[in-house]
């Protein structure tokens, strides 16, 4: 597991504490019942704070899963 993955998993666990660690990499806004608009805002704020980035509002609709956010972070890193 890369450093980015473990840090992103920590963000997800903080916002969705009931989500089991095994389910984090496959988490989506459809599969996690607690993934509502408020928690979406919180998740993205936590990610921005953790990775020191700013996520543009127009990106939000595309970031509805762990994998999508992971790919976004990889792209920003490059």
């Amino acid at each position: 597991m890369t450093n980015l993955d473990s840090r992103l998993e920590r963000c997800f666990q903080a916002v969705f504490p009931k989500l089991s660690p095994d389910c984090v990499p496959s988490a989506t806004s459809d599969s996690v019942p607690e993934w509502d608009s408020v928690n979406m805002i919180t998740l993205l704020m936590v990610v921005q704070e953790e990775f020191g980035i700013h996520i543009e509002p127009e990106q939000l609709p595309e970031l509805g899963s762990f994998q999508a956010i992971r790919e976004y972070l990889m792209a920003v890193k490059e």
Binding site: A14, V15, P17, V38, I41, T42, M45, E49, E50, P57
Partner: protein, 588 residues
Amino acid sequence: MKLIKALELVNSAASGLREFRIFLACGFTPLHLETFLAAEGRLASMQVSVLTGSYGDVVGNIEKLSASGADAGCVIVEYPDLDPRLGIRRCSGWTHKDYADVLRTVAASAERIIEATDRAAQVMPLCVLMPTLSILPFAHTPLSQTSSFEAQLALLGAQMSARLACSPQVRVVSQRRIDELSSAERFDMASELAAGFPYTVAHASAVAEVIGSVLFRCTPKKGIITDLDDTLWQGIVGEVGINGVSWDLEHGAQVHGMYQQLLHCFAQEGVLVGAASKNSPEMIDKVFECRSDLLLPGTDVFPVAAHWGRKSESVSEILRKWNIGDDDVLFVDDSPLELAEVKSVHPGVECIRFPRQNPEKYLEFWKTLRGYFGKPLIREEDAIRLRTIRDSSVFSEQLQANSPSPDEFLKDLRAELIFGLSVEPTDTRALELINKTNQFNLNGQRHTESSLRTALRAPGAFMLTTGYRDKFGPLGKIAVLQGQVAGSTVSIDSWVMSCRAFSRRIEFACLRQLFEQFRAETVTLAYVATNRNSPIREFLQVFKCDVTKPARISRDIFRECCPRLFHKIVIQQNEDHVAHLIEVSASS
């Protein structure tokens, strides 16, 4: 605190933590502020749940406080709460021609908020935070110039703070402290538009930290022990003489003068001030006697432990005379060696270095001391505390000298007990006694304002406070009993008495008062042994109580075992309440 850290704290296991509910009355979506507040509660070892109201209705939310069942309320006001035209979520096309109308609306909203807050504060402890976000650039003036409109808005906000701060039940959160912790960008425009939450994460964290320190504050320390040479004054008095020590600007010693002034303020606020110095006692006596320009008079300091032994011995002596624990005390010295020596013997004492040669560090030192001793209110008892400690010391010496005939000594005291019966949960002195007394404490139970209020609403509930004075002077309010009356039985849930009041048989007089006031046949006491309450255990054993369980004392046993009492009794009570209690007891 980072948001991820706050979330992890809030989500961590909470077993054994005291529950504490806060009603957050604000006009915006609380979002991350709610998380940070709960996290601050965890740092104070509490499981905090945050209740909230409706978006955009701060007055309505304040009015919900009373019925919310919360333990405390927190009111946050931002400018859009006073007039939505001062926010960005509603555009009404207003211009400078509408300034007067905006100011009228703000003034009217301010009145409604003040009235609602005052009403809510009668029911629960409240803190209020006035606008922390800048007025947005609606005014016509250049950015570097304040307009009359902005100045009047700021004035209305300041007037609100001033009026609310006058209420003893309301704590106005310090803007100065917010400014210290939140200097970066505070307003998050994107978040305000998207979610109705106007704060940046960093600002929300700072706001929660300051609110937390108001709502979850630790009990202030009771005493400060100060070094003298190069701390209270500049110079070593044994080397430069009484007139050679200084504390003014002319001698480059102004920080010492400021420190003396601070300790003088502390003494007037009820903090015990003692001195520990490696000096001859005669020399120190002469300084206090001859230097009339001292900003900390000798009457503010007791005791002064001046000798050539270790400072830790001085601290021990002072703690004995004050009769308080080492974790209630701060020690200030300019020498790291002395600080380390005292800390090694008294690990509970907070040891702080006086910034003698670093005046740039004095402000931080000053704030640190204020942090340890700050209190929301100053009461009559605070002003007389040091004098009563000094008088108690004289009392104890005379009691020991008269040990063959304590009855004669006590009779000669001309002691007076002032009993007050109330259900007034806002008696802050009573609450302070319940939460700070360890030795004569029935069971160690502590109360918040809210839990005491709840206890006093029970049928037959009462709170009996005891004030004392004798020929040595007043001790102020020194004991509190809280319980219920049911039939011919009085049940005591809490009983505390200040250690300054020992050896005067006041506790016997309190028990006698219960039998007489309520015509009781039995008094039961919810005694639980703690690490420090041996004095009350010894008292109960006088009445042959089994101290492995709650105690029962019958009127007959009391009469048999009670020693002679010589107090003059003065009753201050609400006659209606006494009549009601007697009526409740008769019908039970």
